[in-house]
Symmetry: C2
Subunit: 394 residues, 2 copies
């Protein structure tokens, strides 16, 4: 057994989160794609079966009250809240991330008010945020300016209404400085929207602590909610009365069953709801969040950094010099929970890795992405992944 | 046994759709709330279990291709298409009805172009359509004018951009004249958006035949997709190239995995997609649609009318004169698949009906709604419902 393999064993033995792996359905594959689709929590199938057979099949319409369907968006929002550093009452779950970006960004522009007609968007963003930002700009009479996150402070001005940023870059795994960038945006009198898709559940976010205005995120990566599970929207408590949603569906009405023709928005986070929530996906997510009971995000972050450090060490030891280039920053303060390696023929390389039981994913044109979910990835997995990568490239 | 009960038995015995009842999970309750939440199709629990345990739990990320997750929105759209009289390639499933109303109405206004800056909306609409129409108007620089559907022809003009109408009124069960109103809107050079929530699956719609421009609908009423199952968007083929979505998420990009910063819309119905689809809810819906195999919507419509006719006859026979007032039109051409009865103390009356095994619903301030899903409601159910109603009121 190699020195690294031996060390992996010791690291796994000392890992306080080790037991959480049993809360997931896993096999002998090294699954490093939890930053795309989290693995199945073991509690989910039974819960979904109950939702389908009993709640829908037997109680039917009564479940909107009796099974808590109607209040699921805010109840599950409150379950996500501590994972992103938010007090209760500020998050609702529902719709896709794209739809929530639209709500949040239009809402932010409307808060900024007259005279502010420019939106800044992360130039390196996952594309959908950019497309939706373009639409939000068009529909609010703003111009849209793509700016690299590090350049945002210099790009802010009197006309800046809102800034849309990613906490962790989907491609490179770079972690952006949420506290400093939020403060800079506020210093310019503008509002910030953070996309937490690649950070929530992997590292502390501190939404309340850092005074973030609005945030969105998906729940199917590090939160393991299942394929296409609903996204969430955070609106800081102090801003909720001013949140003027571009999608004021009946679920966000102050009296949804009053069937009134005039719209009157509900108070609080409920204002972020739109239409009837998709209950099967939503309650699967609720079950999936139970794996977080007793888990501190800080412990997850510590393990995440240890895993990615160890992966980089194993890659350096096993993979011949010059075959891969790490796009992910080495500094912990700038690293999310994934490692992105640029590599010639990355698409084919990933196919062969998958055939050999190491699942990451490929991002065009030349990036191998490996996500490390601390709740179920161990150090032996990491060592094996690097070893198989070296064999595949060698 | 009363004469009506005897007749109910005969009608059930002669009902060609009788066997479809076995395709649903039902009990001894008379379930007349399928116009709010359809009953559970028996095929769904097993399918959902496979999606969760095997597709998500075992194949994980591979299922986006191997289990057909990625193409589900358009594949399931094509399964709904024949039920609403649409050729393939014009419907995508995803998001809530409210979100789809926003896409459709903004899309319609953009098609209408310069100089047309008024939206007409059904003044009796289910509230969410009105709220969303208000937002669509605000964000496209239009004014919004509520008009009763029958008054629409007289309200159309050179400035009319788009008209949003309900095929069947959610409260009264009135069926509006889709062919005539569509023709009137077209005659004025405007575009029409039909909301099919209360008609799809209950009666023929004829989207293609009548040249409807855009349509939306939910799938959890007569299509039995489950609580909050995703809605759908129809864009007539000839208009697809001009459909300019206000929610251009990455799923509607011509090359979604190209990860390009510039947006280029996909051709065809795909253009109506937004973000990552909620797979659990979506594939539950796909399974639910299997109950339609071999069923003609025309046969469903014939039974629906027979059921509501019979219900009205039983109510007239059993319920003392003057206790209820029928809000649903008697003429078949103006009736959907529900009967709405105005009644003093309707909220309490419905509670007692439910306690006695007859499930309809209450719509403020004074309406008892009874929905008749021809696939699983029989004539004996109808007679029993009227009998229990009479006892409850008596």
């Amino acid at each position: 057994m190699s020195e690294l393999a031996t060390r992996a064993e010791k690291l796994d033995a000392a890992d306080d989160l080790r037991g959480k792996r049993d809360a997931f359905v896993l096999d002998d594959v090294v699954y490093l794609d939890g930053n795309s689709l989290g693995a199945l929590p073991a509690v989910v199938p039974g819960r979904v079966e109950d939702v389908v057979r009993r709640q829908w099949g037997e109680l039917r319409i009564r479940s909107w009250e009796e099974s808590g369907w109607w209040t699921a968006p805010e109840r599950i929002g409150d379950r996500i809240a501590p994972l992103v550093g938010a007090a209760p009452g500020q998050i609702v779950v529902g719709d896709s991330t794209s739809v929530n970006v639209f709500k949040a960004l239009v809402g932010a522009v409307r808060m900024a008010g007259e005279g502010r007609d420019e939106i800044l968007v992360d130039a390196t963003t996952f594309p959908t945020d950019g497309y939706i930002a373009q639409s939000a700009a068009r529909m609010t009479g703003c111009t849209l300016r793509p700016v690299a996150p590090a350049q945002v402070p210099g790009a802010l001005g009197d006309r800046t209404a809102a800034v849309l940023l990613n906490h962790v870059d989907y491609r490179t795994g770079r972690l952006h400085d949420l506290p400093a960038l939020t403060a800079a945006v506020h210093g310019a009198g503008a509002y910030v929207v953070w996309d937490l898709c690649h950070s929530a559940g992997a590292l502390p976010v501190g939404l309340d602590e850092h005074g973030v205005d609005l945030a969105v995120g998906c729940t199917y990566k590090y939160l393991n909610g299942g394929p296409g599970s609903p996204a969430y929207l955070y609106v800081r408590r102090e801003l909720q009365d001013r949140f003027d949603s571009p999608l004021p569906g009946w679920n966000s009405h102050a009296e949804p069953f009053g069937m009134r023709s005039g719209y009157e928005p509900a108070p609080g986070a409920l204002r972020g709801r739109v239409g009837t929530p998709d209950i099967l996906s939503m309650l699967a997510l609720e079950a999936a969040l139970e794996v977080w009971d007793g888990v501190q995000v800080e412990a997850v972050r510590a393990k995440s950094l240890a895993l990615t450090d160890f992966f980089l060490e194993c890659v350096a030891a096993y993979v011949p010099e010059g075959r891969v280039e790490c796009l992910t920053p080495i500094a912990h303060a700038e690293r999310g929970s994934q490692i992105a390696l640029r590599c010639e023929g990355a698409g084919d390389v990933m196919k062969r890795l998958v055939e050999r039981g190491v699942v990451g994913d490929f991002r065009a044109p030349d990036v191998l992405r490996f996500g490390f979910t601390p709740l179920y990835v161990g150090f032996a997995d990491v060592e094996r992944a690097a070893r198989v990568l070296a064999r595949t490239l060698g």
